[in-house]
Each structure stands twice: as structure tokens, then as C-alpha cells.
Amino acid sequence: MAHCSNRRQQQLHHGLQVSSGLQDMSLRDRGGRRRDFHDLGVNTRQAMVHVQESKTGFSGKVIKLTTNHFRLTSRPQWALYQYHVGYSPEMEARRLRSALLFQHEETIGKTHAFDGSILFLPKKLENKVTELFSRTRNGEDVKITVTLTNELPPTSPTCLQFYNIIFRRLLKMLNLQQIGRNYYNPSDPVSIPNHRLMVWLGFTSSILQYEENIMLCADVSHKVLRGETVLDTMHSLHSQVGEERFRDACAKELIGLIVLTKYNNRTYRIDDIDWDNNPKSTFRKSDGSEMSFVEYYKKQYNIEISDWMQPVLISQMKRKRGNIQGTVALIPELCSLTGLTDKMRNDFNMMKDLAIHTRLPPEQRQRELGRLLNYIQKDDNVQKELRNWGLSFDNKSVSFTGRIVQGEKIFQSGAMFDYNPQFADWTKETRGVPLIRSMPMDSWLLIYTRRNYDVANTLLQSLFKVTPSMGIHMNRPSMIEVDDRTEAYLRVLQQRITPDINIVVCILSSSRKDKYDAIKKYLCTDCPIPSQCVLARTLSKPQTIMTVATKIALQMNCKMGGELWSVEIPLKQVMIVGIDCYHDTVSGKQSIAGFVASLNQSVTRWFSRCVVQSRGQELVDGIKTCLQSALRNWLKWNKSLPSRIFVYRDGVGDGQLNTLVNYEVPQFLDCLKSIGTDYSPRLTVIVVKKRVGARFFAETGGGLKNPPPGTVVDTVVTRPEWYDFFVVSQTVKNGCVAPTHYNVIYDTSQLKPDHVQRLTYKLCHMYYNWSGIIRVPAPCQYAHKLAFLVGQSIHREPSMTLSDRLYYL
């Protein structure tokens, strides 16, 4: 309590510090956490002089694009007025504070936003300080002082938060229901009866200041609900397993599932089942009175509970402010199952049927968004609210132009290929061409179980067929048959591995993770040697075996230190670094950072290390060490240090940009300084973000299509305070392609934006586990793979002897 008034006083002193109050408001709106999701107020562009004027590129063919951004317009000379509201005597309850204030609607007006201490109005009150007098129900007289603290222009950060809150308010007025961070429309569900599924259509939205305008970025989102309730599942379990094992079966099947209660549209996790209680049991309400569940649901939601014998589900409340924890009791009959089980995910037909509704092609996606905007335009209440605030939305999304940069040429052992930009894939083109650097498989192990004897043979034959044309020299392996037990595999590895062995191939009969983990752990730490695990199932189809064998051969070649292809990199002496993070949930919440740095001019060899965050240490400290050893290795390979370093940093969460700019980048610079006093390479740090709300659509022949790979967008939907751009680098078969967002947060390269964009796109061609263009620059994907392997299977830093190979592919 003391804390509360304290905060208010602070705000009184610094009138500008509204944002915290407003965040509270959205916090109470439930959903989000107290965090700056959009990294507002991180202005990195101002420090980079060379992009002050313009951050746009120029090369490539112009393409007409539209997007999912809608302009927000306000009246000329629009301003938002911010007031502080004080009470004397002090009133604590927010509801009471609001009620007391809004007794004076004639003064304040009908349009307002109030979070308990800060009041926003679209108009200026007559006096700077307005005193109002109200009376509580208990007859207590209260003096309310409303003081003008700020007059906010439309582009101020506070206003942006305010717009978002108002927009959520509009969605609520449209009877959309909030689930998580998004809003869904429960009134018009799509049902898929043959799988007993329901899909709710919903929207994600955010309003931000973009290059020239404040815009709403809206996207379609889907919530998959299952048609059955927990009670239905219990009944079917009961009929399956019988009375005796019923409770155990329920515990096994139901505990841990996420359910949705339709009466309030909230989701809960089932943490326990209380068999001693039933809907007729009573519980104590917050006011101290006892009430039965049956009565409560009747009174509160007008719901009749039909089965009075069902047990009660228990859910732990998530940790809230003040560390109050508690449990919630739920009635199985009223809980719908949500999400998909693993079994459902593996059901191909079902996923296909679902994808029809959830993976919308560009045209349909825009149509659904158009519908949302239409609701907004059509609804009188919403329009009135907007009018009162002096705001309105365009109902047509913004159109602008992007550029399709030139396709890259793929070089492989003297040969040069173009690829079909439509597929962004060169598997066919490079088939049968020798690799840049092929590693011999002179001596290798092939380990399999007796059951997979035939499979092992098939693999071996196919490898013998495909490797010669790649230029891979392969000898017959030592073939070792083992029992299907982890111990047997490990023992064989322990006994048979000698220093001259190039690679170990294990054929696994099931996707049991612990066996894979044990093999990888042993072969990455205790006995460092490249290894390839193959699931027997993958090799079982005769019609795909050659394709699979080709991919495995390529993958093994990379793991042993081979190189496949390259693209032209015009910059000299440049080291490319990729960083990604993995957050390990099992082994005590360790975080792992994968770090990958190029070692040669053609960017085909990589140095890879990872950081397992040790106790009380920041990840970046480890990254520093990695950078140092990467530079040492570079020196060994090139006899000089790189003159340019590009860092592609992935794995940055929403709201972490600030820490990155203020802490991580200085650490990089520090590290470079420590290499030598006369060493100052040009450094560029680029934050890579795959999860962005923006979608682009190419306008072609009256229709909308996915933009082709190589589409670069650096205007209109980028942020004015950043040096950022979007690249669409991959293709998708169905649905909408997602662009990747690149934010250059530090740059002393003096390169033109065009060159940075081109380099970024080139690097998307260099991922050796996929002969095509991928969504992020290859170093990011490598770093991701490495961090994932370590986080999932190895849990400690792999041996350094492997660091010059892509052993984790």
C-alpha cells in the first residue's frame, strides 16, 4: 500500500513518467507482462551518421506490395491531455476511485481513460487544476484534485501506448474475447466436425509509429479448440479402462492439459484432480460466505451443471504481483480441451484439414483482415468512441514498393548455377556436381541393430551410389550390429573408435531421445568425433532412399569439415558471426548461446563454439571469450585479423533490445580492443527477428501473391528510429510467407544500406543442410542448431577439437 502511494508521488514529481501507470492499465487488462514489447524508445539510428539521411537501398527490380498495416489518422492539432488525479482523504480501491471521479461526467466528459491515478482526456479542462467533490456510499466527503500534467502530441510514446489500449477497448466493444494476448471472435467459429475441432478466428494487433505514419499492424490468428469437454474425456476413459484404473488413467491423461472455460474465456492448466469434491461442494468466496459450485455457476454465469458426481479440477494460479499464489477449482463439464495433443499433431489428415482453415493464402488473409476493419467501420459504438477521441483508421491497408534483389549465383567446384527463384532451391541443379571440398570417408563405423540390418545395407549401397559424383571418397565401413540398448551403442563406440575414424553412423530404430542424447553426448564431449544418427524409418521407403542418402552424404560431409557450395562475397577480410540462444528447461534453466564465426574469405568454413551459462554469469561474458577465440582462429587461417566483422544476433526477445544496445555491443567492442591496441575492425551488429507481425503481399494481375524470395522492404513499415529492413528470403508452399526483420543496431562499416541488405540476403544461401534459401542468414541457423543440440542433448560445452566443423548439423 505504501508502495502504491509512493509511486503516485513519484509521478507527481516527474509528470512524464506516465508510461508505468499506463502499463499497469494494460496489465490489469490481463495478458501481457510488464515489459516494453515493442522496444520503444531505443533509438539506435541517431548514432549512425551514414544512415541519418537515408537507410534505403537501391538495387533490384521494383515490386508493388501491400501489407497488413493500416494508417491511424487523427484530427489536425490533435493532442492528448494527461491529468493526475488525487484524492483527499486517500482512497485505495481503484474501482472506488473511478466511481468517485466519474460522478462528474458533466465536467470530464464521456470520453476518458483512467487507470486509478492518471486520466487521459481528448480535451483540455478549463483550469490547470480542477477540484471536484464527491461523496462515497458511506457518506464520506472526498475532494478530488484533477491536475493537468501533460499535453501529448500524437507521436509521443505515451500516446502510442494509449492507442493500443483504446484499440483493445474497441475489440472488446466488438464482442471479441481476449485469450492470451490476442482477441478472438467466439460467435463465428469454424467447426471441423470429423476431427471434433473448432477454430476461432482472431486478431493480433499493435499500433506503432512507423516511418511516416502511426499504423495499426493487424494479423489473423487462430485458436483451435477441441469439441469435447474434460467430462467427455473422463467418460470415455471410464469406459475404456474400467472403474479400477479410472483415477490413475485420468491423472495420466488429463493432468497437464490446458483447458478453456467458455464462460469467461480463460485458459487454465489442470494441475490436479480433487476426487473428494464435486459440484455440490462448497467453497469460500472472497467475502467469506460459503457457496456451492452449482449455486455459484447458476448465479454468476447462469449455467446449470448437469452432472453432480464429477470431481473438481484444480489449477494453480500463475504467479501474480505480490507473489500471491492460490488454486482455482474448475468443473470438468465446463472445461473445453484446447490445443492439439502430440497424437493429433502426428495425424497427417487432421493437420491437413486444419491447415485449410489456419494457413491462409495471401488473398484470403487480407480478406479476413478487411473484415475486421469493416467491423470497426460499421459498428456505431466503435465509431462513436473513435470520433470522440478524434481518431480514425484507414480501411485499406497501405501500399508501397519493395525491391526484388538480384538472384545469387551458386558456385560449386568451378561450376556456376542459377536457381529458379520461384522455388529458391538448387537441389536439382547441383546434383552430380563435385563439392567444393569433400572429405574422404576412409574409415568409418556403421552401427545398427539386428532388426535394421537390411536398412543398414540399403543405406550403405545408396551411399556408394551417390558419393562418387560428389567427389566423396568412401571406403566400406566397419559394420557393427548391436543390441537395441543405449549401453550397447556406447560400449561399441568406446571400443571401436580410434583416432583415424572419420565419422560414426548410427541407425536408430526408434526416436527415443535418451539414446540419441547419450550417443551425441559421448561423441561430442568424451570422445569428440563427428556422428550421424539416422532413424531406420527414414530409410525404409525405397522410392525416397536415393534422395535421403544424398542428403545424408552431404550432411556427413559437412560434419567432417567439408564445404558444399558458395556465393560471391565481394567484401574482403570479412568475418561473419552468428549468435542464437537456447533456453534449457530441463537442466536447471541453463541458457545456452551458440556462436558461429566464418573462417575464410568465401564464408564456407565455420568456427563454432557454444556457451553454457554458468552460475551468476551473463551469457555475453561467454560470448566475449568465443569472439576472442574466433579471432585467434581467423588469424591462424588467414595470417591476419579480419578488417570487418558482421554479427548477426538472433534470439533476442521482445523488449531486450535495450540491454543488447547498452550492454552487449560495448562488450563486443571491449573484446576487440583487448585483441590489440592497433586493431580496430569495422563492426556491424544486426539483430535478426523471425517472429514479426508484418506480412507483405505482391500485387500481381489484380490478385495478391506471396512476394518472391529476395524482396527487400526498407520504407513505410520500418521504424524511423532504427536502421532496419525486412527481407523475404524463403518460399512457402501454402499460407503466407513471413519476412525476417533485420535491425542494424551498431554499424561502423560505412557500407551503404544496399550492401548490408545484399550481404544479408547472400548469407541466407549458405546453410548447408538445405540446398536452398532459408529464412535467416546461415550463421544464425548454424548457431541455432548448435545451441539446440547442446541444450537438448549434451548440456555442456562440446569438445573444442570439433570447433572447426559443422558437427552439429
Binding site: 505504501a2 508502495h3 509512493n6 483415477r247 490413475d248 491423472a251 495420466k252 493432468i255 497437464g256 492448466r269 489442470i270 494441475d271 484432480i273 484444480i314 494453480q316 488454486t327 576412409d442 539386428r450 537390411d454 545395407n457 550403405l460 549401397q461 556408394f464 551410389k465 558419393t467 562418387p468 559424383s469 566423396i472 571418397h473 568412401m474 571406403n475 566400406r476 566397419s478 559394420m479 557393427i480 550390429e481 548391436v482 540398448r485 543405449t486 549401453e487 550397447a488 556406447l490 561399441v492 568406446q494 571400443q495 571401436r496 580410434t498 539414446k515 547419450a518 559421448y522 564431449t525 568424451d526 530441463v586 536447471g588 541453463q590 554458468s614 552460475r615 551473463e618 540491454t659 550492454y663
Partner: protein, 411 residues
Amino acid sequence: MARRGGHRTAFLWFVHDQLPGLERRGLSVTCVGDAVPYCSQAWESLTEEEKMMYAEKARTWNSKKRSQKTVKETRNVPDPVPAPLTTKMPCVTPLPDASALSWKNDQDMVADIFYFLDIYSYGRLPPHCEQRFLPCEIGCVRYSLQHGILADFHHFIDPEVPPRGFRYHCQASSDETHKIPISGFHHPRACYAVVLRELIEFAQPARGARPRFFCRSNDRFRINWCLGRMASITGIESHWELFAVEDLIMKLYQKKYQKEPSNVWVYRKLDVCLWDFSSNTRCKWHEENDIICCALASCKKMGYCISKSFAGVYGVPLTAAHLPLQDSDSDQGTNTRIVKLDAGHNQKMKAESSGCNKPLGCPRQDQEFVPSNCDSPCGVKTSPCGTSVVQGRGVIRLLRSASDLSKPFSN
């Protein structure tokens, strides 16, 4: 959100202690509030013990504050509000310091008997629960460097019922580790009284002193808590000392090398993944189900580690009791066969004399050559299945040094 002089949490104390270090790193952190973002990750990675230390600090501070306040404001209230952390901590024994470990000479040390202990629980429940852990499996081994593992002790423990609302938590953490089901487990489980009595009997030191247990330092809090819990529930009077095995390893190292090993070195020594799957290491159930996490295995591995690292320097000959059985010529039913395939008909056969430098001294003459036949290019003969253990054939690695072998294939 620094609250001047008000209630302080354990985390705030932690941040407070980190301030000087952060400043040294060149960060502009003037108050606790500035430092919070840099500390949250570090805080997450603290052990329970370390967190407890800060919680204790916070509690003393807060209760002091509160009592000051209560004295000031409400003089008549005799008993101040109870401290928030009043949960009954059955931790009867304080954790001893490593300095208690010492030996007169090497002989003493080598002959000294240690008990390695591990107790698994269904997860770790949050601090506000009275029940922090639910012990479900216990393992203990008697070990001396001289003789290796002398005896072992293992039980599944009859667990207490998870507090209401925590079944999911317990189930999930079990699934991640030892995978012992909470209900529907068809193996006999012993109750606390039996477990504790037998453990005390098992670990009864000769000279009537307290039993000395060793465990991994990260698990110390849990194991100590579980022992305390069992003692307090059953009312069995018992005393014990629980050391960190890392400290023991440090001591052994120091004694021989006169210097301290690095933490990483100790950690590496203890964490050898090969032993995770060694036979005769896990309990029967965990071995049958091929699950790594087993309390018994955890104890045995501590023994293996010490044997492997120190038997040599202390001049103790290694026996089967020191390290897990490794040789394939022992009959453990591991059926490893090495077969030579003749997959590529066009591959030149080179003399297989090219180096069989395997650790196993298998006679090379035993290698079985099965010539390819036209119908099945893979002319390999699987020996009739069954119990026959075809081992010790040696490795056939053919054509290893040839450089011009893989000619393009014609089909």
C-alpha cells in the same frame, strides 16, 4: 522499484550484493533498481541453498524492520506478526564444512570408508509449501578407495501424497528425470521408517560416530531435507553429516598434488556419460527401462569417479568393484557382432592387414568373410539369431588407406 527501507525480498538482497561487481564491470548501476535486469538471470541459476541464504538475510531484515515498526506503532501487541518463512524446516542437521575431512596419512585415506548417498524426489515444490520434496527413491553405496564399492543400498520410497494442486508439477518433473510414476508403480516401495532404519544400519560407522554421507553439492539441500523429513515423520532419532562429494575430490587432489583442481575439472570427472549406461550400475528397474536417472547409479558413479581419478596416484590396483565392467568378453548379454558387408561389388578388396589397432586383442583370423552373391548384393550372413554371443571377432576395417577406390558406380 526500490522500496526505501520497506520490505526487502531475497532477490533484492542478492542484487544488492551484486552491485559492486557490476560496477566493476563498468556498468552504470547506481542503485538496486538499475541492477535488476543484469541480475535476474544470475538469480535463476542460484541453487536452493544459495537462495536460502538470501532469503534468510531478507527475513532477518524484514522481521527486524517489522519489530521496530510494531514497537513504534502498536506497543500493545505482544507478539509481532510471524515471519513469512515459518514453514517447518525439518533440516535438523546443519551442513558440515569440508574442513572436517582429514586423514593422518595416505594409508588412512585409502582405507577410509565413505557413504555416497542420493535421494530422488518428485520435483521441488515452491518455498511456501510445507513439503519441499517428496522422496521416492534412495540409493547409497559403501565405498573405500582400497576396495571400491563394498555394498549398496537401494529402495523405492513410498511417497507422500503430493499437496493438492501439485500433481502436475510432480508428474512433470518425474517425467523429466527418474520417471518413477506417482501412482500405478508396481514395484515394492518401502515406508520412511524402514528406509531410515535400514539406512542407518547400513551406514553405521564402526566407531559409533555419526554416519558421514557424501552427495553432489547441487543435491545437498534436497537430500538433507529428505533425511530430515523422514526423521521427523517417523520420529527416529538420527544424526548424520552430509558432505559435498566435490569437496572430497578436492581434498584427495590436494593431498596428492598440493594444489587445488578447478571446479570444471571436478565437474567433468563426475559427469562421465559413459557410466550412465554401464551395466550393474543402475537399479534393476531403471536399467530395464533404460532410464538414466537412478539414485543408485548416481551414488555408484561418485565411486567410479574417485576410483578412476585417484586409484592410480594412490597406488591402489583397480578391481571390478572400482569401475563398471567394460570388457565385451564378459557375458552381459550385450550382443555385439561385427559383420562385414560386401555392398559394393566393385570395391577392390585390399588386404585387411591395414591396421587393426583396436584395444581388443581379437584374433584377426576369426574374421568371417562371406562372399557376395549376385542376388543379394549385400552378401552378409546374419548368424542364426538366438542366444549365441558372437563376440570378439575383432574389427574388420577394410580398405582403409586406399585413396582411389570409390569409382563411379555403374547402376
